[in-house]
Symmetry: C2
Subunit: 137 residues, 2 copies
């Protein structure tokens, strides 16, 4: 995605497009890995040598607040972020630790008494072994 487009998206959400924010958002969009804070940090510190993890935390929680990213809690230890905010499922491989996006063909789950709750987020997490790890068994 072009840098101008990214800046436009950030501005539309009311986020002032600083270098750090642009780079972090760009990274999230391009990475298909649902990166952790640490992954983002390690990959961007080359480009932005003064980058701190604090800024990444600040930025991602700001993005989340503005509805630009979603936070995943599929992982036991670390928080992960996803720039896709539409409804899709996530698969975590217990062998390699990777997290994959999965698409719904149909999603018709009805839940008892859910009308009494105010729903803000849905997360479907599936854990198991991914195709690659199954092969090398």
């Amino acid at each position: 995605m072009k840098k101008e487009k990214l800046i436009k998206i950030l501005k539309e959400k009311g986020i002032s497009p600083t270098l750090q924010r642009i780079k972090i958002y760009e990274y999230l969009l391009e990475s298909k890995e649902h990166p952790t804070i640490d992954m983002i940090y390690k990959d961007l510190i080359g480009e932005i040598p003064t980058l701190s993890k604090t800024t990444i935390y600040n930025t991602l929680y700001l993005f989340k607040e503005k509805g630009l990213v979603q936070e995943l809690t599929i992982d036991e230890n670390e928080i992960r972020f996803d720039a896709r905010t539409d409804l899709h499922a996530h698969f975590k491989c217990i062998k390699c630790g990777k997290i994959f996006d999965l698409e719904f063909i149909s999603k018709d789950f009805r839940i008892k008494n859910l009308e009494n709750y105010k729903v803000l987020e849905y997360h479907l997490y599936i854990k198991g072994i991914c195709p690659d790890c199954l092969k090398s068994y």
Copy 2:
């Protein structure tokens, strides 16, 4: 549930029924709160004054390995455990932090290419505001 029954269940799973393990399992079964390690610790330290968190960790991961409990990752900060291992959904209230069990009326979600993966666990997590917190708005 009677203590004898608990001991029987533990033995059937190949877990030697020590006092700590019985109490922790009993607590999990009776609590509807999907407690964190800390909640278990605080509530049982009165009964078992020498109890340590290490033992609670050991015990719960042993239980998990034996299929007696499931681990929830709905929470950002803490791991929670649930003695119900059948498929049901979990709701986390972002106001009060409580976690509720929700029952499926129907669950027909089909996911693209899932046949390439080996599925071990499903988790449906919903976040929002619970009925009680909605009232006091």
